[in-house]
């Protein structure tokens, strides 16, 4: 009986102590790398679909994943924070033939900000 109680206690402890979205998970490697879709909440699924289709027209998703996970933009070496996500969004909006509308850019920026918040959780 005591063993069973101990087991239940350990399981409960494990469940309670596991933070939700504490880390940003990625799946795949190299140019196939992308965010683990299971950690994207329902209200950001559409933004994730936009990101998966539009962003990879010019660069791999790995670049975005690394930027979010490390907090550093890979090419420039600059901090990748919420100020940077908006700047990159504006850059992509202004980029000729980026094929991204204002609404799409806004959604992707919101998604990246969410991911940054999640990555910052302990």
């Amino acid at each position: 009986m005591s063993v069973l109680k101990m087991a239940i206690f350990v399981v409960l402890l494990a469940v309670v102590s596991t933070p939700v979205h504490a880390k940003i998970r990625a799946v795949g490697k190299g140019d196939k790398m992308t965010f683990d879709p299971t950690q994207i909440p329902a209200d950001l699924k559409q933004a994730f679909e936009i990101m998966k289709v539009k962003c990879i027209q010019c660069h791999t998703q790995e670049r975005t994943v690394i930027a979010i996970q490390t907090g550093i933009a890979p090419v420039t070496g600059q901090p990748f924070d919420k100020q940077a996500t908006k700047a990159y969004g504006i850059k992509m909006l202004r980029k000729p033939k980026s094929n991204m509308s204002r609404e799409e850019v806004k959604k992707v920026v919101d998604l990246m900000n969410f991911l940054i918040d999640e990555a910052a959780k302990p």
């Binding site: 790398m33 090419v75 033939k97």
Partner: protein, 457 residues
């Protein structure tokens, strides 16, 4: 003629084959060092976009980048991505050294702290560029079709510890004289006539902590908004390439010079310099001012745009520039016949989404351009180019150039062209030139079709 047509068919075949290219990576020196694609800085290589222009103006450094220097707050590495990359990131973050992270593991593992400590680039900063041209001139009496290997150049560029930028262009081969006893293609003339060392200069960035960048070496003085190779077409802009009489001056010719330049208020760019023309006791001088309205600034900071409100002004920017150059040249070192001259010009570069308009005007006044008669000469050149990017790899433009001299000479040039980059480091250009010259009441015309292939690797 039949052989010429064969060449055209051969090149057309290559053009068609190029349509089957699906994936490739641009890898010249800057691309390698910064692990980024050509399109980061170019529309269609080698024409610069606004980020490439900012990179050039900042001495080959990204805005605020502290590449290779310790960060004040080393980043905390989080996540569960590629375990190999994350392991390296954690090592770098622990050491307080930033490192590029999106490279393949094998490349990342080659990062060398000793190289960084020694101030050396992580990659060998060298690349090659080559151009092939084919032309068809129906007005020519002979050799209507000409296939030529125009040039092969060694390019190097980079920055050491964000302090010392360097750029080098060495022409390994440039088409020269034709000697059928040696070869059935023109040979390299050889130094010094081949102008082998086209550019080599050093830039001391932010000298003594000031906004000033000091540049010295052999380079093209900063005059026009567009450097000679900052174009998608084959022919040069008339406003910078024209010469007057026997004068050897051209605004886009490289020269031994020193230059100080600076970006002020992020949107104002100033440059001034001295040119040392060999054999003269007086140096020549020049100045340049340009202003950017809208878009990202000269340090590549994005404008603050409200993502909730639509405005056409968010997609446009305008760069205005003006310049002046004053100098004196002569026929040879011992000649007493001097030609004092000045060149003044103004440029405008307007971008609205995928459309681009370039306007330029230049005036040159020469006191003695034939080195004998002391007959003053004033030449005005106007240029207007409309450019449109249909897709990221396909661009077309139409250019009109008008040159007028105070002796009555008039030249009109109409130049439509299409540039296509099947992969980012390969550019194919088809350009047509219709030229109408009026000299002493006699008008002549010529029509030339050009096909150019440029590759860098």
């Amino acid at each position: 003629m039949r052989a010429g047509l064969s060449y055209i068919f051969l090149i057309s075949g290559l053009l068609i084959l190029s349509g089957f290219f699906t994936q490739a990576y641009a890898i010249p020196a800057f691309s390698r060092e910064h692990n980024t694609e050509c399109a980061t800085c170019h529309t269609i290589y080698p024409e610069l976009n606004e980020y490439g222009d900012a990179f050039l103006k900042n001495g080959f450094v990204w805005n605020k980048q502290k590449k290779g220097e310790p960060l004040a707050n080393a980043p905390q590495v989080k996540g569960e991505g590629d375990p190999d990359i994350l392991r390296q990131l954690k090592e770098v973050a622990a050491a307080g050294l930033p490192q590029k992270v999106d490279e393949p593991t094998a490349a990342s593992s080659k990062k060398s702290e000793p190289l960084w400590l020694a101030g050396l680039p992580q990659t060998l900063p060298i690349s090659l560029a080559a151009t092939l041209n084919a032309s068809y001139n129906d007005d020519a009496k002979y050799d209507k079709v000409d296939l030529s290997t125009r040039a092969i150049s060694l390019l190097a560029g980079g920055v050491i510890r964000d302090k010392l930028g360097f750029f080098l262009k060495y022409n390994l081969y440039s088409e020269g004289i034709f000697d059928p006893a040696q070869s059935n293609t023109p040979l390299n003339l050889g130094s010094p006539y081949a102008n082998d060392l086209e550019e080599f200069y050093l830039v001391w960035r932010n000298a003594l902590g000031s906004p000033l960048n000091l540049k010295a070496g052999r380079f093209r003085p900063t005059l026009s908004l567009w450097k000679k190779n900052n174009k998608t077409g084959i022919s040069d802009f008339a406003t910078t390439s024209f010469r007057v009489g026997k004068s050897t001056f051209s605004a886009d010719a490289p020269a031994d010079a020193v230059e100080a330049n600076a970006i002020l208020f992020n949107r104002l760019y100033l440059a001034t310099g001295l040119v040392d023309r060999k054999g003269q006791d007086a140096n020549e001088g020049y100045g340049h001012v340009s202003l950017k309205i809208g878009g990202s600034d000269f340090k590549a900071n994005e404008p603050d745009i409200d993502l909730d409100k639509e405005s056409i002004f968010d997609y446009m920017y305008l760069v205005l520039g003006c310049y002046g150059y004053t100098g004196r040249n002569s026929f040879d070192l011992y000649s007493q016949q001097r030609n004092n001259f000045y060149r003044a010009g103004a440029d405008a570069d307007l971008i609205v989404k995928s459309a681009r308009i370039k306007l330029a005007f230049a005036r040159e006044n020469d006191k003695n351009p034939d080195y004998s008669s002391h007959q003053s000469n004033t030449t005005d050149v106007l240029l207007a180019q409309a450019e449109y990017m249909f897709t990221p790899d396909l661009l077309a433009f139409a250019r009109y150039e008008y040159l007028t001299v105070n002796d009555g000479t008039r030249t009109h040039r109409y130049i439509p062209a299409v540039a296509y980059a099947p992969i980012q480091n390969v550019k194919l250009t088809i350009e047509y030139q219709h030229v109408s010259d009026k000299i002493s009441a006699i008008t002549t015309t010529s029509n030339i079709a050009l096909l150019g292939v440029r590759v860098a690797f």
